[in-house]
Amino acid sequence: MPKMNMVQAINLGLFQEMSKDDSVVVLGEDVGVDEGVFRVTAGLLEKYGEDRVIDTPLAESGIFGTSIGMALAGLKPVCEMQFSGFSYLITHQLEGHASRFRSRSQGDWTVPLVVRMPYGGGVRAMEHHSESREALYATIPGVKVVIPSTPRNARALIVAAVRDPDPVIFMEPKRSYRAFREEVPEEEEVMEIGKAQVVHEGDDITVISWGAMMRPTIQTVDKIGEKLGKKVELIDLLTVSPMDSITITESVKKTGRCVIVQEAPKNMGVASEIIARINDKVLMYLEAPVKRVTNYDVVTPYFGRETNYFPTPDRIYRAIEETLNF
């Protein structure tokens, strides 16, 4: 299996889906000639031409609104928001239309499309290039929110997103784009949207994360194993909405302890929802309160201050240790 980074892996997924299905089109700002500002769409224009790889005018609502139309007419648009910080311009079309056509028409009209957007911090970028706002999209019924964490699951999930019958917000952790490489099979691999993954099994504590926070979390979990001799069950959420409650609650039932690591601020975050579900289903199994390691409820600082603002491995370590010792 070839080793690749996440940019190459998503690119591979797009390449293969476009070759299989000529209704798949890619559109967005600078996705064609420039091959995307992160080069995720590299080679697509050359291979599939201008009709299928569209450099659009600079208008997010335009990109997304026309994607809805394309999807209604049977195409499968994969549109790109250059950074998630510019995606708020699509929210009226998302909440008002993309998420509603299916129920509005009682299943007659559907909007199968993908919105790809790099999200999150850690790349020393300007304002609006560092936020993590998955919770914003996860509150909209009818919209799926998927966040891969490695090259391999990114490829398998982008394929699933393209084939999904509903609008999928596909948030790419830009900090992980080129951070590491992983073996990715050339042949087709698809993961199911709506399913979390148990990355490794353990009995002592459940640790849940997603996206860019998986890396520091995995490193910390390894250290917990070495230093404290505890077995952590690590879960990668992968789909934020609709959430896989079963994988989460089955694990917590077994371990009785849980820590959640989230890059986004604390207030109304995905971690809050995970805790609510644990509370709903397995409260009686808990041996310690569930802890969350999150960002602070402050406006995302410019990059000069971002390092301290993310959940650091030290904060994650302390949260796990405290929960184990409770």
Binding site: D30, D34, P57, E60, G85, F86, R305, D314, Y317, E321
Partner: protein, 363 residues
Amino acid sequence: MPKKEIGKFSVSYMQILDETGKVDTKLEPKINNKDLLAMYRWMVLSREADQRMINMQRQGRIGTMGPSTGQEAAHVIPAYLMNEKDWFVGAFREAGARLVRGETIAQALLFYNGFEEGNKKPKEYRTLPVSIIVGAQTLHAVGIGYAVKYRGEKDTAVVTFMGDGATSEGDFHEALNFAGVWQAPVVFICQNNQWAISLPRHKQTKAETIAQKAIAYGIPGIQVDGNDPLAMYVASKEALDRARSGGGPTFIEAVTYRLMMHTTADDPKKYRTEEEVDEWKQKDPLPRFQKYLEGKGIWDAKKEEALVNEIKSEVDAAVKEFEDLKELPAEACFDHVFGTKHVDIEEQRMEFLDDQKRGTDNA
């Protein structure tokens, strides 16, 4: 029911000082020497600061920055014509104009190095921070224009900048429409630098000019050679006078060129040719202005050399000021979330400080 023509519209283009240095004396504005030299100096300072920042980014001394080299006439001249009472509502490619408005190079460096303090400025300056969300600021300008009118403030204009790419955003069109309906005292200056990252102007809009978009909103619009300081002077002055005297908004398309990369993270070789860039280098506003000043007998090689040296030391001093800055407090992100204190934020501030103290005690 006859079918007949009910409207006829035209778009004008203005150039006064052409790329060879020839002046159209019929259109030439009367500007005193002091102002001419001051405007030229701002443009040279802006260019030097820009080039220095690109180097500093390359050396890892600041973060990503977006150069404005080549566009100095299009934004320095209107900023120079603004008064203290006027409002400046910029985008992100008017570095020279921000210097004219009183921002320091050291502050700009701080901004590009990822600190909000780079935006800090006394409110009296009426200069808003950089706006990165393309097009959004144009609506703010119109709201400010409304407030100026509402308060009956005399002789006050609002100047807002945007790029050619911004003219595709809905916000831009809503701003022009509101400005027209409200007759807000706003001067819209579009720096059409031919590119929005990799998208050329002709793929941004099918319209022949950007200036003509003003017509649809009932606003006077003009296309100007944005690399011609004299044409920018005349067009900006007329627009500012109109706004300040209750005549409503104006739209100026300043035709210019982004001579450098979009930002230091961009590689323009992917989408445009060296020949195109070279062609535009011939239209560079700086040598053109220099020729004009020489023609008027108020500039020569010796003065140029002295100015360049003076400006180099000015930029050196600014870089030193920036690099000598003591470390800024890490917890500043908790200071300005709300205008009122909230227990959540204060609790999290304490947690944050505690975490900073504990550092890597478990590592």
